[in-house]
Symmetry: C2
Subunit: 252 residues, 2 copies
Amino acid sequence: MKIVIFGNGNVATHLGKAFFEAGHGILQVFGRNRARAQELATALEAKAVGGLAELDLTADLYLLAVPDEAIASLAERLPRLKGVVAHCSGATGLSVLGGLQDYGVIYPLQSITKSADLAIRTVPFAVEGNTGQTTALLLGLMRKISPRAFVCNSQQRLALHLAAVFANNFANALFQIAHEILQENGLPFDLLKPLILETAQKVQTHAPRDAQTGPAKRSDARTIRTHLDFIGKKNDRAEIYRLMTKVITNGE
Amino acid sequence: MKIVIFGNGNVATHLGKAFFEAGHGILQVFGRNRARAQELATALEAKAVGGLAELDLTADLYLLAVPDEAIASLAERLPRLKGVVAHCSGATGLSVLGGLQDYGVIYPLQSITKSADLAIRTVPFAVEGNTGQTTALLLGLMRKISPRAFVCNSQQRLALHLAAVFANNFANALFQIAHEILQENGLPFDLLKPLILETAQKVQTHAPRDAQTGPAKRSDARTIRTHLDFIGKKNDRAEIYRLMTKVITNGE
């Protein structure tokens, strides 16, 4: 396949390299940061370009690996293309590309960071196309990059994105609160690291509901009161404590 | 050391076995569940007993591995003892044993479950004694079971217990919510498992604040609104979403 990449961030970099290593030809890299776009283009043996006037119209795939809020306006400014245009956003519907001829989504569930050691073959890619043919094309492309690529619709992709925010961003925020509680009491965060790993490992083989332990799970009102007294009544920690305790106690 | 164990649950079982394997003599096991107490006693080459009248007064350590709410009343009913009496609770102060001569706490931070494959040498044990001598005795005892045993006071232990509730129980509850969001949308929880592991692994080497990503971190109001629309306005998920987003955006 001949591919054009828009963007020079983490997704553009990792997907670009994966496509390149899979034997596809990267024609062009578009990036507002010209130095980074040039760097990526060089690595992919592609041409770095800055303006849509230079866009190569012969590509099979145009990958919009740009920030969510830039997708719609970029799509509007694209000329008529025979290739498939795909964005990479979890929280953006397929329909944002509805003005184009053939379009789709390639959304990497895992948070893709700069670190070079990302095992892209373990990343679940959610794939969607405007037609069965486009979906099949994108799925075939991605399956060679990661066996965990799969098809889902825009509603499912948004659910996945939201679930990832709970499981990753919000869990990490809880680790941050734990870190601060320890710090305020002269204790190192190191103490909690094995427990945090164990928590993540347990849900690899058990449903989270079955893995639950602690005062809320066993309705230990005495310990819950002791904790809330320790936290102090009116702050975010107390609110989070009450809400999470309620979720564990009652189910949602 | 000569040791008497009260309790026949997970902590009693794992600590009892660890003491036994370290060469200590387990004299007696007290347990309300006679069958389980007998089973543990047999494994530890100890005597299972049911009543305090039979208590061996020659032990060096009396381990109260009983539910938190049972510690105070058990301590009150103990006869005068020359050995050290220690409870195993994170959320219970040292002072609950204040009526005794020598006393302390041995609190295993990690949630100790039945599964036999617990690597007890990786568990951080928080140790406290009523005197420097008792603290030193308990620390020496525990250091041979786990190199991660350390001394902390009752306030610190409660902070540790609370921090563990945030990092383990509440994080697991977020995994449960994520599980349900996926389930409601016909997607398997398997999709999130690598991300959950990655989240836990990242804070092994980075402070949680530095590991944070996502819409809240980058103040992406558009995606936050999309998520809240998807969740629906008035439920626990929406409240948790708003609170955690606030914590990430503003710090606590």
